[in-house]
């Protein structure tokens, strides 16, 4: 059953980034599966109002005051009138928020619950529990997620983190990883196999990439924003030692950030300019062109929920050396990666091991692309997300959706199907904390009164219904549909 879905996040194009492309890819694939998807984000510079992207993806850029790093001002209520208008206009059934640092997303989930819509939240990042910023974010997250219908996390580590941060029922949290568009991350020597069946022998003839000799130059690629939490300090410490012990190694570093100065100082102090190439920041579509110049991808990050970039690197046929932090160990199989502890010595050692493995031609990097293509695809992500939508809308029975695990201890709470009754919602919010619970209840009550007021002042009847983008059924699907229609007839 097709749904009308609104993706809400502060972060969307034209700003580049992981969350942004996640939203875009997921929306596109959901549209391909027959759903109607709109995106609500705040206005970016020079981009206000309604825009259509490819495939009829409609984007609402709502004018809003931006305070910090493209996050909207948290005003709790001021977004409600226009949000209600959009939701009614587009006949939305499911509101899907993204990113825990996005105020837009939190507000939208609150208002959507008040309006009686199903909500989903996708968490893309990991947070600790110690520092003041995290504590505040966690409290806010708890507020929103007390009443959300389902949560999606990008890795199992992220799920554990979110469950702890927001005190959620673990069965209400699904793990659906990010994906990559494998076609955009092909290795240099990759011939598309679309016509393999016709020319079966051709795939055998496909030129094998020539093996790396003992004295060939091995290039290590690093593409990351140069921030502390991306492990740039480790990188700075490791590069001179790697280069000292492996003379035929070159580095390509792409990305910019506050640590770029330290990196350059290190290069100057050790006179490594001819061995290390600094490219500055590259655009996302150029990433592949940088990656295919190298043999090893080095990822020294200190925290990472998923690490899409290492999947992209593996897809480009690079051997990956990465730190064993966050969700990274779950992402790629052993034969594509060498793990290191987040320590300088271990990173140097792991890189040395990776170089040795490549030189002895033990690693079949030419197969990586096809393997990654099988592991991660946005179509798969969309299919799994669709199951979540089905579960929360009641199209999949709760027993099937949440699973029946006798004796596992999970079947405890009967509160998974969240009712919209105000008193039930208040009960859920009240449990958030001694003071916070009362404050949250107050917010919810005001939100409800605001909703009643808006219903009276701007009645639904006066809001026009927007016409949906005409759906394009491709021939294959039509054929499929015809077949499924015919099937019952033939069987009976």
């Amino acid at each position: 059953m097709p749904y009308n879905i609104a993706m809400v996040s502060d972060f969307f194009f034209p700003q580049p980034g992981g969350v942004e492309s996640h939203i875009y890819q997921l929306s596109t694939k959901l549209i391909d599966r027959g759903h109607k998807v709109i995106i609500i984000t705040h206005a970016y510079k020079g981009r206000t109002g309604v825009r259509y992207l490819t495939n009829g993806l409609k984007v609402y850029h709502v004018p809003f005051f931006v305070i910090y790093r493209e996050s909207a001002m948290p005003t709790v209520f001021s977004f409600f009138p226009i949000f209600r208008n959009i939701v009614i206009r587009e006949q939305i059934q499911i509101v899907h928020g993204h990113a825990s640092l996005s105020c837009f997303c939190h507000e939208a989930i609150l208002h959507a619950r008040t309006m009686g819509l199903r909500t989903v939240f996708t968490d893309h990042s990991l947070f600790g529990f110690a520092d003041a910023g995290s504590i505040l974010t966690n409290k806010l997250l708890k507020f929103t997620l007390s009443d959300v219908d389902h949560v999606i996390c990008v890795s199992h580590t992220c799920k554990e983190n979110t469950v702890l941060r927001a005190s959620l029922d673990p069965l209400m949290v699904s793990v659906i990883p990010n994906a990559v568009v494998a076609e955009n991350f092909c290795p240099l020597s990759y011939a598309p196999r679309a016509n393999d069946r016709e020319h079966g022998a051709l795939s055998e003839l496909r030129p094998q990439p020539k093996p790396i000799g003992p004295n060939d130059i091995i290039t290590i690629v690093v593409i990351s924003r140069l921030f502390y939490n991306k492990g740039t300090d480790l990188l700075i410490a490791a590069i001179p030692r790697i280069l000292a012990s492996h003379p035929n190694v070159r580095f390509i570093i792409a990305g910019s950030g506050p640590k770029a100065i330290d990196l350059e100082q290190m290069l100057e102090r050790n006179v490594l300019q001819d061995k290390v190439e600094m490219l500055g920041s590259v655009r996302h579509e150029e990433v592949r062109d940088v990656m295919v110049r190298g043999h090893i991808y080095l990822h020294p990050s200190l925290t990472e929920a998923f690490g899409t970039v290492i999947v992209e690197a593996a897809s480009c046929g690079l051997y990956v050396v990465c730190t064993r932090v966050g969700g990274i160990p779950e992402v790629l199989p052993q034969h594509m990666t060498t793990f290191a502890k987040p320590e300088e010595d271990d990173l140097v050692m792991a890189t040395g091991k990776a170089i040795g493995a490549l030189r002895s031609n033990k690693v079949r990097t030419d197969r990586f692309h096809d393997q990654v293509k099988m592991m991660y695809s946005w179509t798969d992500v969309a299919r799994r997300t669709e199951r979540v939508y089905g579960g929360i809308c009641g199209d999949i029975s709760p027993e099937e959706f949440y699973g029946y695990y006798p004796g596992q201890g999970w079947e405890a709470s009967g509160d998974r199907v969240r009712s919209f009754a105000l008193i039930d919602r208040l009960k859920r919010y009240y449990g958030c904390g001694v003071w916070a619970g009362k404050l949250f209840c107050l917010c919810v009550v005001i939100d409800f009164l605001l909703y009643v007021f808006l219903e009276m002042w701007f009645p639904r009847a006066n809001i026009d219904i927007a016409r949906s983008w005409p759906k394009k059924l491709n021939q294959q699907e039509e054929k499929l549909k015809a077949r499924t229609n015919r099937d019952p007839g033939t069987s009976s």
Binding site: T157, S167, L171, D196, N229, D345, R367, M374, V388
Partner: protein, 494 residues
């Protein structure tokens, strides 16, 4: 996938272990065993739901295991509080909450065998739904209170003497100021007594340094050489005590030489390198071990000379500055001055470096913040005084109290514990007496004040220590793989 039919064997091998993070050792014992003896450091997923019942079971199991007593109670208590804070929403009361955990295990394992083990991996296509939560691996890397160290009462009280000392010296300074303003105490006598104390302290300190030098023998010369050069590069985490003292020597040289009396609490000589190159240069000569003895003695004397020299420098600089300082804040109302000096002294007390100068992580505020606040407080206070002599005396006294006295105190604590306790006692009595004197006047009031002050201080020390220990049960540090890793980087500054 028709397009992939003709491809070589692509599917990557699916590993046996369920999580790549797991090391072989943790897999070796069966999960049943693991469950029987729950690690109190870990939160099992059931904790989320059956907080009360499970905690009881866990506490019982923990009681069976004979662990360190204090640590266990601490962590056990921490557990209950932690679950309560982590899980306020999960107040789901269930009739079958007291189900046997073992049978749960059994059924889950049977089922798993049927379906194939779930793996904590993202790249494997699994037959489990996306929201499947594996009881065994879920949150298995969570640690709580991993680095917690239970406090003992008496060591805590002993450590609090440092704070008491500083607060007392601040109180004494304030009382002296009040006495001077009210005309009950002559500023010259105050500064004379202060200077006598400083001189005695310096002589003691010098004797310690000398004893230390002769005690560690000739090999210290070489070490002192390398030590000083390394202490200029390594920051405060200098491991060797000799290097510590060595830099203390330079620390005093700095505080005297640079009319900015900062107790050099970093224990490094980076600052002094920039300010007083002569003092440092002595140490950086590559001295051969044998013929160094006469040179070293002269270096000692030269250091003394430079100390005396800088003392005179400060003395005359203050003398010259006094008229300016006197009229510096004349246009400011007295009320503002009192408020400001109050805040500045509070800032001094709170940002003062109470560490012994050895720990690495103790340096959150620069030590100069504390000293600067105190000196500024005395500067603004000095401008309320009637004459240049008054101003000069107060300023000199403040430098002695806030700049030099902390260095002496730290060194004393390092050298002799009895002396430290004795000094604390003296300071407490003196501060109490001074407060009594200031409030009432007369010797009787001073005696009553010192007795009252001592009792109050002892109560406060005990009470605060007890309070801190009792607060420990609320400690709930949750650490897991989601925390940003702390990179371990070896520093090389070649």
């Amino acid at each position: 996938m028709p397009s992939l039919l003709g491809s070589p064997p692509i599917p990557p091998p699916v590993p046996d272990e369920s999580h790549p993070n797991r090391v072989g050792g943790s897999r070796s014992h069966s999960p049943g065993e693991q469950r029987a003896l729950p690690d109190p450091n870990r939160l099992a997923p059931e904790d989320a739901y059956y907080a009360p019942s499970l905690l009881k079971a866990r506490a019982a199991a923990a009681a069976k295991a004979n662990r360190d007593d204090s640590l266990r109670t601490l962590k056990g208590n921490g557990n209950s509080a932690a679950v309560a804070t982590l899980r306020p929403l999960s107040a789901v009361s269930k009739p079958d909450a007291e189900k046997d955990v073992r049978s749960v295990r059994g059924t889950s394992r049977r089922r798993r065998r049927r379906k194939g083990a779930w793996k904590k991996l993202l790249w494997v296509k699994q037959s489990y739904p996306d929201n499947y939560t594996d009881t065994e691996t879920f949150l298995d890397h969570l640690q709580r209170n991993p680095r917690v160290r239970p406090y003992d009462f008496w060591p805590l009280v002993a450590d609090s003497t440092v704070i008491v000392q500083h607060v007392c010296s601040v109180v004494i300074f304030i009382c002296c100021f009040v006495g001077i303003v009210q005309g009950r105490v002559s500023p010259v006598s105050v500064v004379c007594w202060g200077s006598v104390g400083t001189a005695v302290g310096w002589i003691l300190w010098d004797a310690w340094a000398k004893a230390d030098e002769s005690a560690s023998g000739p090999e210290r010369v070489v070490e002192g050489d390398t030590g000083s050069s390394s202490s200029s590069v390594v920051d405060s985490t200098h491991p060797s005590g000799t290097g510590q003292k060595d830099s203390q020597v330079q620390g005093l040289g700095l505080s005297m030489g640079s009319s900015l009396p900062g107790p050099n609490r970093y224990g490094d000589s980076r600052v002094s390198e920039s300010i007083s190159p002569t003092a440092n240069a002595i140490h950086q000569y590559p001295i051969p071990p044998e013929p160094s003895r006469p040179l070293r003695l002269s270096s000692r004397n030269r250091q003394r000379l430079s100390t005396v020299k800088s003392a005179f420098l400060i003395y005359f600089a203050l003398l010259g500055l006094s008229p300016i300082l006197k009229s510096l804040t004349k246009s400011t109302a007295s009320d503002s001055i009192w408020a400001m000096s109050c805040w500045l002294l509070i800032m001094n007390i709170f940002s003062f470096d109470y560490g012994s100068g050895e720990g690495a992580g103790a340096t959150k505020f620069p030590a100069s913040l504390s000293t600067n606040a105190a000196v500024m407080a005395s500067t603004v206070l000095a401008s309320r005084l009637p004459s240049t002599t008054h101003v000069f005396s107060l300023m000199l006294f403040s430098i002695e109290v806030f700049g030099l006295f902390p260095i002496f105190r730290r060194q004393l604590r390092h050298i002799s514990w009895t002396g430290h306790v004795f000094l604390t006692l003296t300071l407490v009595i003196a501060a109490g007496g001074a407060v009594g004197c200031t409030l009432r006047g007369g010797w009787a009031a001073a005696v009553v004040g010192s007795i009252l002050g001592s009792i109050l201080t002892a109560l406060a020390m005990g009470g605060c220590s007890w309070w801190l220990i009792s607060l420990q049960k609320y400690k709930n540090v949750v650490i897991g793989p989601w925390d940003p890793a702390r990179p371990i980087i070896r520093r090389h500054w070649d």
